[in-house]
């Protein structure tokens, strides 16, 4: 798995490439959670190059979303492949995460 981090205004963007499984989720957690704890309030996760997510990856997303909701922050996701979207549906995540087809749409939402 590769994580590419970029900043667009106050939005912090993390693009995931490859697999978010039990092994790589620990790395992802180490990259995503500290900036939120340090006060970043707008997080965009670009999953357009992500091939796989397991419950370990979902757990990190849930942690991030809870922290952001506690600090009046916002999270948005984009580019979910169909198989990733089905995992979100089964886990009940599609109902609580704002999901957008493309990165510009997710950015617009976060910059509102």
């Amino acid at each position: 798995m590769e994580i590419t981090q970029t900043q667009n205004g106050e939005v912090l963007i993390f693009a995931i490439q490859g697999k978010l499984d039990s092994l790589t989720s620990k790395t992802f957690e180490g990259r995503l959670i500290p900036p939120i704890e340090q006060g970043n309030k707008k997080i965009l996760l670009d999953f357009s190059e992500m091939d796989y997510i397991s419950s370990a990856g979902l757990r990190v997303l849930l942690l991030a979303a809870r922290l952001l909701s506690d600090s009046d922050g916002k999270i948005a996701l984009c580019g979910l492949k169909p198989s990733i979207k089905s995992v979100f549906d089964i886990a009940g995540f599609s109902a609580v995460f704002p999901i957008f087809p493309s990165l510009p749409e997710a950015l617009d939402e976060l910059k509102k």
Binding site: D21, S22, S54, S55, A56, R59, P82, V87, I90
Partner: protein, 140 residues
């Protein structure tokens, strides 16, 4: 041309071993033209079960062996996982409330919920001091 219908893998109780299972599943499924969605479901189910065993099943710090057997018969894939970890029946695990709002969403139990949803049939038995989990998935 003959096709592989059966595959056995022996893994150590190390999370890094799970990737090997995913690769073997992908190779077997490719030979049998299994859809990408079904391959994902099978890989995910194995990942979740193995992650649970490796993360929570042992407390002696020793190396253990986990056997994974894949058998494809009549467009049905059989996955059998045998381990000598502490007794654990995933079918007894409570179903998490996935419809709960964000703050009440459970952090645990999601993996088993995914497995139970994605597989067509799951059977658990404890025999010869081993957990044996058999999951089946119909291949479209």
């Amino acid at each position: 041309m003959s096709q592989t219908n059966h595959l056995t893998l022996h893994l150590k109780n190390d999370l890094a071993e799970i990737e090997r299972v995913g690769e073997a599943v992908a190779a077997l499924c490719e030979e049998h033209s299994v859809s990408a969605e079904t391959v994902y479901a099978i890989e995910l189910a194995l990942d979740e079960v193995l992650t649970n065993i490796i993360t929570y099943g042992y407390d002696d710090g020793e190396e253990h062996e986990i056997a994974v057997r894949l058998t494809l018969v009549d467009r049905e894939l059989n996955l059998e996982i045998a381990d000598d970890a502490r007794p654990f029946n995933p079918l007894d695990a409570p179903t998490p409330d996935v419809a709960a709002p964000l703050q009440d969403k459970p952090l645990g139990g999601l993996g088993i919920h995914l497995v139970r949803t994605l597989m067509d049939h799951i059977e658990y038995k404890r025999e010869h001091e081993q957990n044996v989990l058999i999951m089946t998935k119909k291949i479209a």
